[in-house]
Each structure stands twice: as structure tokens, then as C-alpha cells.
């Protein structure tokens, strides 16, 4: 074999892999984002990161791989997210080599506590750099610390940085470029003796000249408010009201601008193209279909902004504390409330976030109930029906309108569905001894504007991307089905098109719920993504009204659905499991198809029965 060939088959020397390790909420992901330019989720509560995330960081003279990991309070791996970190550190994570070095990130304001994690991490024998983060708060609150003294004591380099403000990052880079040897000095404490380890941490902090910063003055005051027996719940309800009122009022003009823009551009496209099938596809299919969904972008962004503020302020852990009592009545604990709140954005990250729950059965129960929480994909459906059937009136002056109340009611309905299911599960198949509850409360912080802005931008991009791919594809196929087969060279009237036939074949099952065949077609397309039903109805009514001016989707729905059918539709969406991506994640996290199958069946049965009852009750009352 020639030398040249040999060179070819020898793999290039692999890049070094550096692992970010540290206690929960010390700023590992913030640092990761700064170093790699990626946008990992950051939030001011423990357990934000629950799986490994690989990125590349530029260092003087090359690039290095960096892996962000879930926070750990020890290397015992007591929960699924902690086990990820432990597995990566021991080189047991599939697809990831054993790290060549560790960036041990500790919160400089709590170094005397956090150093007790340093002992087991240093004992791994990997080259380690200690990064003391949150230097800004340490200084602002009058704390002090001597990194050199700590470095001397630990025998490894120590840096003081502020990841949030981007201070000290160049030093981190140049340190990573010249990884030191693993420390050899080290009189480490007995690792399994927790009190001993903590005493060692306190002592080490003392040697490092650590002066604990003064407690934040705002945190106890805000907690007094958040945990007050009367004011606390009042504040919570007020926050919710603000969220929903702004979703239904603030977003409305924005939504109308979007709609107008879409209409104008549709008219423009129509005037540019000659009369043809392609033109009708665009103006009757794609524009009303994709456009109907794009118009919801402002609403979704407002929702995500509020979730982002909740997550980054520190309120999530307080919400978990307040919810603990209630949750324990339904067999769960307050910790499960955090994934459930994240599920208001999307069930998928919420199901991932359940990894922080130590008890296996509690975790499974939380996975199974998460899809009942009202995810952002249901928002367009609810808005569409509410806009068509509920007139906007003041409930409490201009601060709260009927539509916001209806929306709140639907969110509450989903939450009750989740709690009821939790109770069923926890009092039968998933019964277990009550788990303990122990949670560190981070200080309240101002949400990082930069992070929030990026999150909204990413969300908007993903939303538009999905509208331009999945939803566009569904819309085009649907338009074809709504116009074919050809009869003597002419398109079918919609009633006798393939879509019409498909919808009508479903009518026997749908009529008891008060749905017509168009809703039936929408239910099928919504399997691609829940909000697609809005686009589908946009297209179906768009095709139908081609030629004569329709009064928009709201008018068409009002004309076509009874109040009972409309109410049944939102109830069906509140409970039904129409999301394959969620089922796929449930399969991955539970390790098989058994639970997703049970979940799908159960939710469909609940959704159908509840919709049936709703249709009959509402029609009897208002019909």
C-alpha cells in the first residue's frame, strides 16, 4: 500500500471535545451560546437543559467541539437528565467520544456550595478549567473572591467570567486552546461522604478568600408577593389575564395587518397571472390556506414572549412551589408543573423536560398528561372559532373581554384534562409512594433581552418555514383533491371532488359531534400539524366561494356550523392527540410504542366523547 493511500484512510486527528459541567442554573448554556454562537435554551430555573448539545467553538489556532450538558448536583445520576451528563463524562453516550477536557462552570455567588461538585468532577482525572460565572452579580452585591488562590488550592486554572455580559470569554478560549494537564495535587474529600464533601467546599471557599455576596434585596420582596396567600394567586391570575387579553387584543391589529398584506398580495398575484388552473391554485388554494396560518404569527410570538419572560425571570420555580399542594392531590409533585407550563409552547420540549423528575412513574405520568396542555398550535384553531362565534364585549371594563375569557376557559379545560388524567394514572397503574419535593429557588433576574429576541426570531423563522413547507404541501394536495376529478374537461364542484367524497364518507362519525364534511377533511389534514385545519378550512371555503365574494372564513363558519358544532370542535382540539411528532417523542422517551399507543387511543376517546356531549348540551341550550 502506498503512503498516499495510508494518509487517506487514516482519519484526520479528531477535534478535541470539551464538556460543560456544573450545577443546575449556573449559566452553562449561556456560556455555551457565547462560545459557539448557537442558541441553546436558557432560563432562570434548574433543569432547562436536559440533553447533550454539541457545538463548535473557535479557539486561537483552531476549533474545538464543545458539549453543553444538563446541570448536576452530584455525579450520582439520580434523574434521567443527570444520567446524560454522567454518561457523557464516562464516554458512555452513543455517538459521542469521551471528553478530552472539562469546563467546570460554577456560580461565583454561591461558590461555597457549588465547590462540592468540584470534588467528584476533579476526581474524574480529566484536564479541567474552573469557570466562575456570574461575576457581575458577585461584584454588584458586594461579594469577593480570589481566583488565583482558588487555582492554587485546586491545582487547576480558574477564571472569573460573566457569560451573560460576555466578559472574560477570550481568556476561556485561550485556556481551552492549551488544555492543561489534569491536576495531580488534590487532597479531595471522601466523595460519598456528603457532609465531608461540603465541609471541604466551605473550607476551600474560605481559602479562596470568598466573601458571600449580600442577598438580593428584591428576591425576598418579590417572593413575599408571589407566595402571599391572597396576593400571590391574584398576581398569577392577573398575569394570565394580561397574557390572554394581549393575545386577543394586542395581536388583533397585527393579525389584521398580516391578513391585509396577504389579501393584497393575493390580489396582486391574481392580476399578474393569466386566467389558468395555476392561478386558481395560487389564489384559491395557497393564498387562503397558507395565508390563514401565517396571519397567526403575531399571536404566537406574543405567547412565546410571555413564556420566555416567565422562564427567564425566575418565576417558574415559584409557580412550582405554589402548585405543589394542588399537584400532590392529583398524585404528582410541584416539579412536574414546570414541564406542564412549558407545554403551553409545545408538548415536545415539555416531554423532554420531564427528565428532571426522578421518580420513574411520576415522570411517565407527566409525559402522558403533557399533550393536554394547550400548545401554541391550538391557538389558531381556538382563535378562529372564537372570532366566528363569540362577539367581543367587555367583561371587566376594557381590561378583559369575552374573547379573552373564552380563551382562558379553553386553557383551563386543557389543564383540567391533564390533572384528571394524572389522577386516573396515579391512582391506578402508575401508583407510587409520594415523591419528595426539594427545589432551589434562583434569585429573580431581569430576562436577558438578547436571548429573548433570538428566541422569538428563531420561533418566527420556524413558523414561516413550516408554513412554506409542510403547510404549503398539504394545501396544494388539498386544492387538487378539492377540484379533481375532471368532468368533461372541467373541474369538479367541490361537493363531488375527491376531498368532498372523503369528507362525506366520514360524515356518519362526525355528524353526532355537529361537524360537517369540511371539518372532517380539516381533522385529517390537522394530523400534519394541528393548526393546518385553519388553512384547510381557508382553502375549502376559498374554493367554494371562488367567483363570488365571500365574507371571509369567520362568516363562512358561522353559516356552516351550529354553536354546538363549533363548541364541540374546540373541545375536540383541546383533548385530541393530533400530533405525530409528539407521539414520536413519547416513544423515544418511554422506549417503545406501548405508551404512545395507549395515549393516542385514550385521548381520542376522551376528545370524541367530550365533543359529543358538548355538541348536544350547547345545542340544547342555544340551538
Amino acid at each position: 500500500m502506498s503512503r498516499a493511500q495510508l494518509v487517506q484512510i487514516t482519519p484526520a486527528p479528531k477535534k478535541k471535545l470539551i464538556a460543560l459541567v456544573g450545577p443546575p442554573n449556573c449559566g452553562k448554556s449561556t456560556l455555551f451560546n457565547r462560545l459557539t454562537g448557537l442558541r441553546q435554551k436558557v432560563g432562570n430555573y434548574p433543569g432547562v437543559t436536559v440533553e447533550q448539545k454539541l457545538g463548535r467553538m473557535q479557539v486561537p489556532g483552531g476549533a474545538t467541539e464543545l458539549v453543553d450538558l444538563p446541570g448536576v448536583s452530584s455525579l450520582a445520576g439520580r434523574s434521567d437528565d443527570e444520567r446524560v451528563t454522567v454518561d457523557v463524562l464516562h464516554g458512555k453516550m452513543a455517538g459521542l467520544k469521551k471528553p478530552d477536557g472539562v469546563l467546570l462552570v460554577l456560580d461565583a455567588t454561591a461558590i461555597d456550595r457549588h465547590l462540592s461538585l468540584a470534588a467528584p468532577v476533579l476526581a474524574l482525572g480529566l484536564p479541567t478549567l474552573v469557570v466562575l460565572n456570574v461575576a457581575d452579580e458577585l461584584e454588584k452585591r458586594g461579594g469577593a473572591l480570589d481566583p488565583k488562590a482558588l487555582a492554587a488550592k485546586l491545582g487547576v486554572p480558574v477564571l472569573l467570567v460573566s457569560a451573560k455580559h460576555g466578559q472574560g470569554l477570550d481568556q476561556v478560549r485561550s485556556f481551552v486552546a492549551h488544555l492543561p494537564e489534569a491536576s495531580r495535587n488534590l487532597e479531595l474529600p471522601k466523595l460519598h461522604d456528603v457532609p465531608h464533601r461540603r465541609r471541604w467546599a466551605l473550607q476551600t471557599a474560605k481559602i479562596a478568600g470568598f466573601r458571600r455576596p449580600k442577598a438580593s434585596i428584591w428576591t425576598p420582596r418579590l417572593d413575599w408577593l408571589a407566595l402571599h396567600p391572597v396576593l400571590g394567586p391574584a398576581v398569577f391570575i392577573l398575569l394570565l389575564t394580561i397574557v390572554f387579553q394581549s393575545i386577543s387584543v394586542l395581536a388583533k391589529p397585527l393579525q389584521e395587518y398580516c391578513q391585509e398584506g396577504i389579501q393584497i398580495s393575493g390580489g396582486w398575484v391574481a392580476s399578474m397571472l393569466p386566467e389558468s388552473l395555476f392561478r386558481s391554485l395560487l389564489t384559491e388554494g395557497v393564498w387562503p390556506g397558507v395565508g390563514a396560518i401565517l396571519a397567526f404569527l403575531p399571536q404566537i410570538l406574543i405567547l412565546f414572549l410571555f413564556i420566555g419572560i416567565l422562564e427567564d425571570s425566575g418565576y417558574m420555580t415559584r409557580a412550582a412551589v405554589i402548585a405543589d399542594r394542588t399537584m400532590s392531590r392529583f398524585g404528582l409533585q410541584g416539579k412536574a408543573f414546570i414541564p406542564l407550563l412549558s407545554a403551553y409552547a409545545c408538548a415536545i420540549p415539555a416531554i423532554m423536560a420531564t427528565r428532571t423528575i426522578e421518580d420513574k412513574r411520576d415522570r411517565l405520568a407527566t409525559i402522558l398528561i403533557a399533550p393536554f396542555m394547550t400548545c401554541s398550535a391550538r391557538l389558531p384553531v381556538y382563535t378562529m372559532i372564537i372570532a366566528a362565534f363569540i362577539p367581543e364585549r367587555h367583561v371587566i371594563g376594557p381590561f378583559l373581554g369575552t374573547r379573552a375569557v373564552a380563551m382562558l376557559g379553553l386553557y383551563l379545560l386543557g389543564f383540567l384534562g391533564a390533572l384528571g388524567t394524572a389522577w386516573l394514572l396515579k391512582s391506578s397503574v402508575l401508583r407510587s409512594a409520594p415523591a419528595s419535593f426539594l427545589m432551589e429557588m434562583p434569585p429573580y433576574r431581569w430576562p436577558a433581552a438578547r436571548g429573548l429576541a433570538f428566541r422569538l426570531l428563531d420561533r418566527a423563522k420556524a413558523f414561516v418555514y413550516r408554513a412554506g413547507t409542510t403547510i404549503l404541501l398539504v394545501t396544494v394536495v388539498l386544492w387538487l383533491l378539492a377540484n379533481l376529478p375532471m368532468h368533461n374537461g372541467a373541474l369538479s364542484p367541490i361537493e363531488s371532488s375527491y376531498a368532498g367524497m372523503l369528507g362525506k364518507s366520514m360524515e356518519p362519525v362526525l355528524r353526532p359531534l355537529g361537524f360537517n364534511w369540511k371539518i372532517g377533511v380539516g381533522l385529517i389534514t390537522s394530523l400534519a400539524a394541528r393548526e393546518v385545519i385553519v388553512g384547510t378550512l381557508g382553502t375549502l371555503y376559498g374554493v367554494e366561494s371562488a367567483g363570488h365574494s365571500g365574507g371571509g372564513l369567520a362568516a363562512a363558519l358561522q353559516h356552516d356550523l351550529t354553536p354546538g358544532g363549533a363548541a364541540a370542535l374546540v373541545v375536540f382540539f383541546a383533548f385530541a392527540m393530533q400530533c405525530f411528532s409528539t407521539l414520536a417523542i413519547v416513544r423515544r422517551e418511554t422506549g417503545g410504542w406501548k405508551w404512545p399507543a395507549i395515549q393516542f387511543t385514550y385521548m381520542t376517546v376522551v376528545a370524541y366523547s367530550a365533543a359529543w356531549v358538548t355538541n348536544h348540551v350547547v345545542n340544547a341550550l342555544f340551538g
Partner: protein, 76 residues
């Protein structure tokens, strides 16, 4: 013997005994509840919910059931 659950808001005491075992004991100690530590009661969640205690500059929420198992003496 008094326990953490007996502390009123703002009151401090020194931990002397932890009547917990197994994984729970490890978790409790890892959070800093170790004999000798001075703990201050900060807040109680409404309706008999968890209590928030401050120790070593950190604030930790635990349920009353657990607080009842953590015995204390006067901090003086």
C-alpha cells in the same frame, strides 16, 4: 425536639438531626441541610404548601413533611 417546620417567618435555628434515610437523605444533604448549618425560614407557600428556607446564601423549598423530619436547636 423542635423541627424546621416550627420556625416562624424570619426565625433561624441550627440543624442538629436529620430523620431521613436513603436517597432522600443524600438529596437533602446535597442541598445543604447538614447538621450544624444555620437555617432561616423565609416564606411559606399558601395553603400548607412548601416552605422556603435560606441556608448558606441559597434558598431551598421543601415540603412541610420533610421539614418535620429536620430537627433543630436554637442558633445562639
Amino acid at each position: 425536639m423542635r423541627t424546621l417546620a416550627d420556625l416562624r417567618q424570619g426565625e433561624s435555628a441550627r440543624l442538629v438531626n436529620l430523620l431521613v434515610a436513603g436517597d432522600e437523605a443524600t438529596a437533602v444533604m446535597e442541598a445543604g441541610f447538614i447538621p450544624g448549618t444555620v437555617v432561616t425560614m423565609m416564606h411559606a407557600a399558601p395553603g400548607g404548601g412548601p416552605r422556603i428556607y435560606r441556608l448558606e446564601g441559597a434558598e431551598i423549598a421543601i415540603r412541610v413533611e420533610l421539614a418535620l423530619a429536620l430537627q433543630v436547636e436554637d442558633a445562639a
